[in-house]
């Protein structure tokens, strides 16, 4: 790991992100890269959550006393941290054209695909969990609809071109994944076996794609087609998990609220998730089974009771008849 390049700001940093879910410290596609960047740089920092401002472009931000690096300034938090000489992992590579173009590709094509997948291409359940689960119902709902509208505007999706745009977005994502896969090969990092912000940005994207998007997601399927990228993401996830769990006693480093079990690598967590899905399905089935059993017993009892009565009636009738 790279030693942090510390400038004049020696104070303790605090990263403010959206909430932790899906076994990730934060499942927001713009917050996770910053978290990973700080982790890769081995900088101690606190993690705070802002649960009430899903539509803010200021989040994520890193602050330290009166210093703040906002997401909506100077090209994002990572760029601000670099510019202000607080954490810079890219000093050797930031002028290389291939490196810059790869960053640009992730920030445009893959980030568009992620936007599409979260807000338009899925049922919105992931987006709801990441952004709105802590907001009161009407506010969460209204903000979700507003965001869907904004994303459609941003991606230029209308009723007429929806299918074509979707195709285009996924095509670009496939190209990007293939290119990244070729570039990475079997290396541990994208450039010269040392972490840069490119790794942080791609890992952020890949981990959200793999863990936060639903299993039916097209984008997730496209990423799974590139096994080396998946292995790369899982390896770093496990390393970050190790860092997070080993420093759990350290109060300066924050731990995601979920336990380490969620931090296991993908091949392990995948069947577990399936099992829970299956469990759910079985439970539902069991419920139906019990209900039908109950109904059957009730029907049986009522029929039996009814037949008893009729029998008794008949008997009475018979008796009456006999008497007569």
């Amino acid at each position: 790991m790279e030693e942090p390049i510390e400038g004049e700001h020696q104070q303790h940093l605090t990263l403010v992100t959206r909430k932790s879910c899906f076994g990730l410290p934060t499942a927001c596609p713009s917050c996770l890269p910053v978290y990973i960047y700080l982790k890769l740089a081995n900088v101690p920092f606190d993690l705070c959550y802002n649960l009430t401002f899903p539509d803010s472009d200021q989040i994520p931000y890193v602050d330290s006393d009166t210093y703040v690096a906002y997401n909506n300034e100077k090209g994002g938090v990572i760029e601000s941290l670099k510019e202000d000489n607080i954490v810079n992992l890219d000093s050797d590579v930031q002028d290389l054209p291939e490196w810059v173009s790869t960053i640009a590709m992730i920030n445009s094509w893959l980030s568009d695909a992620m936007l599409y997948e979260l807000w338009v291409g899925s049922d919105g359940s992931s987006a709801h969990k990441i952004y709105y689960s802590d907001l009161p119902w009407p506010i969460g709902k209204v903000l979700y609809l507003k965001q869907v509208y904004t994303v459609k505007q941003l991606l230029g999706i209308s009723k007429d071109n929806a299918e074509r745009r979707e195709e285009e977005i996924y095509r670009r994502a496939t190209i990007a994944y293939k290119a990244l896969s070729t570039r990475l090969g079997e290396d541990s990092f994208f450039s010269d076996n040392r972490p840069t912000s490119l790794d942080a940005i791609f890992l952020g994207h890949a981990l959200v794609t793999l863990y936060a998007l639903p299993e039916t997601s097209v984008l997730r399927g496209k990423l799974l087609e590139q096994p080396n990228l998946v292995i790369y993401a899982d390896k770093h996830k496990a390393q970050l998990l190790d860092v997070a769990s080993s420093s759990s006693s350290d109060p300066s480093s924050s731990i995601p609220r979920r336990g380490p079990s969620n931090w296991s690598s993908k091949p392990k967590s995948q069947p577990k998730r399936e099992r829970t899905q299956e469990e759910k399905f079985f439970r539902r089935k069991a419920k139906y089974f019990l209900i039908t059993q109950m109904v059957a017993v009730l029907v049986f009892l009522s029929l039996l009771g009814g037949s008893d009565d009729t029998e008794a009636d008949d008997a009475d009738g018979d008796e009456g008849f006999d008497y007569e």
């Binding site: 009166t66 300034e73 009161p136």
Partner: protein
């Protein structure tokens, strides 16, 4: 009540001719018989005189003894749009009157209540004789004239020299749209760099079986606190006035509140509070004001207590807090030069509730803020004013974000601070007002005053109360004293004061010197 007097007189004449002769009063019968006998001989003048005498006697009788009388029927006339049930409910008391005296009193009250609905141009209540076969009864005729033009509007531009700002305000009122005495209004107020509000409301004089007026209001409010606390507040809300009487007021408010910081300069505590929140609170206010004037009180007392509970309904994720404030005023006349000593003490406390409430901060806009140049004598309703200190100019504060634009101006923004408000606020003041020995000033009610005020604003949440001590609390007080001239007008009270700051803390914004202040008791 002038409108009412004439018809009542008519009533008395009618009674004399029709009703009273049926009463079990032999004396009166005799008089009338005599009158009938004499009638052909009488000249019009003497007849008038006799009538007057009879009227005087009747008045005398009404004033000296109880005259039994029952209301047979109530006729409502002139209401084209207004529902009869509304008018009937306002004049209910008339039907149960048992004597002329009670009836007159009930008629006066009913008239006032109908006028108060604000949907009639005029209201006349006439008491007429009942049917001849039912002696001792009368009919009540309520004649109303509905407002011809149901739309009224106001427009104006208001300036606040103290805050160096001005605002544009306009309102449109629609009366009695559905005939239930319903008042609809829409208002717009736009303040440059300050507060803007668009709101629409409806008020009903009565709803279902509730006896008090019910009010509902939707409003979109935008407040700019960037200068003082680096945030903007926007709130879209619905408020319902559930109970409103002279002393009690119960209101429910549901609003979606958003705090943003477009300047991106907020301090850490403010930054952490930005976002959306659902505010759902119930507020009960008890108010009693026995002072002789809200602008220049010289006698009497006033008390206000307001309790607010937030986070009750409908979502468990709405903002949870309890806010309690009180304000006590007393005016003591000194007996010379209309001098009076006013003193008051106000306090407020705010606390969150729910899980982990001990560690949670309170929400920013609900906190108490002190300062501003409004007169403490005038503003009744909680701890707000402390003369000599600027608006939101004291209490807990934090440095704003530091932005270095270039290496030259490193110290440019370092002194700016955000005021965060407090959870525990206390203010106290004493004010001695007296007339000046100039007749011109005395006639126009311009008077002088000398005052002293003290106030404290502290944080008690997020476990701060653990370090709370009496010594610390005493040290947190800021004081100022001064004197000045007061010009009361019909609408507001203007003060020109010289204010001396006796005690302030390091980051407080206070100034010793001459200050202008405008305050309205409304």
């Amino acid at each position: 009540m002038a409108k009412e007097d004439t018809p009542i007189t008519e009533l008395e004449q009618d009674d004399e001719e029709d009703d009273f002769d049926d009463e079990d009063d032999e004396q009166e019968d005799e008089e009338e018989e005599e009158e009938e006998e004499e009638e052909p001989v009488l000249t019009p003048e003497s007849r008038k005189r006799a009538e007057r005498a009879r009227m005087e006697e009747t008045f005398h009788r009404i004033s000296s003894e109880t005259v039994p009388l029952r209301v047979h029927d109530v006729l409502i006339k002139g209401n084209k749009k207004t529902k009869e049930s509304l008018i009937e409910s306002e004049i209910e008391a008339l039907k149960t009157a048992n004597s002329v005296q009670e009836l007159l009193q009930a008629a006066a009250i009913a008239n006032a209540r109908l006028q108060k609905l604000d949907v009639f141009d005029s209201v006349n209540i006439t008491l007429d004789s009942g049917p001849p076969e039912l002696p001792g009864t009368c009919n009540v005729i309520v004649q109303v004239l509905e407002t011809k033009n149901p739309i009224t509007g106001d427009i104006g531009i208001f300036t606040k020299p103290e805050a160096r700002s001005w605002s544009f305000e306009g309102s449109l009122k629609l009366k009695n749209l559905f005939g239930y005495g319903d008042l609809w209004d829409g208002s717009l107020s736009y303040g440059w760099d300050q507060t803007s509000e668009v709101s629409a409301g409806v008020s009903l004089p009565r709803f279902m079986r509730l006896f008090t007026p019910v009010m509902a209001r939707i409003s979109l409010l935008s407040q700019d606190w960037l200068k003082f606390s680096s945030y903007k507040e926007r709130s879209l809300g619905l408020s319902l006035g559930l109970l409103s009487t002279k002393n009690h007021d119960l209101a429910y408010n549901l609003s979606w509140r958003t705090l943003t910081d477009p300047s991106q300069m907020a301090s850490e505590s403010i930054r952490r509070q930005l976002g959306h929140g659902l505010l759902s609170h119930l507020k009960y206010t008890f108010k009693i004001d026995r002072r002789n004037s809200p602008l220049r009180p010289t006698r009497g007392f006033a008390f206000v207590a307001a309790s607010q509970v937030g986070g009750i309904f409908p979502d468990y994720r709405s903002l949870r807090f309890v806010r309690q404030e009180f304000d006590i005023r007393y005016a003591l006349p000194l007996g010379f030069a209309r001098a009076a000593l006013n003193f008051g003490i106000a306090g407020g406390v705010l606390f969150p509730w729910g899980s982990e409430f001990m560690n949670k901060p309170t929400t920013l806009p609900d906190r108490f803020f002190l300062g501003g140049n409004s007169s403490p004598v005038c503003t009744l309703g909680g701890p707000t004013s402390l003369l000599g200190f600027k608006t939101r100019g004291l209490g807990p504060s934090e440095p704003k974000r530091e932005v270095k634009k270039s290496s030259e101006d490193t110290n440019s923004d370092t002194c700016e601070r955000d005021f965060l408000g407090g959870d525990l606020a206390t203010t106290a003041f004493a004010d001695l007002s007296f007339d000046l020995p100039l007749k011109v000033l005395r006639d126009s009610n311009i008077h002088a005053h000398a005052f002293a005020c003290a106030g404290s604003l502290t944080k008690i949440t997020e476990n701060s109360f653990r370090d709370f001590s009496f010594q610390k609390y005493r040290d947190s007080f800021r004081c100022s004293a001064g004197f000045g001239l007061i010009v009361p007008t019909k609408l507001f009270r203007m003060e020109v004061n010289y204010c001396h700051i006796l005690r302030q803390h390091e980051h407080d914004q206070a100034k010793t010197g001459v200050q202008f202040s405008f305050s309205s008791p409304l």
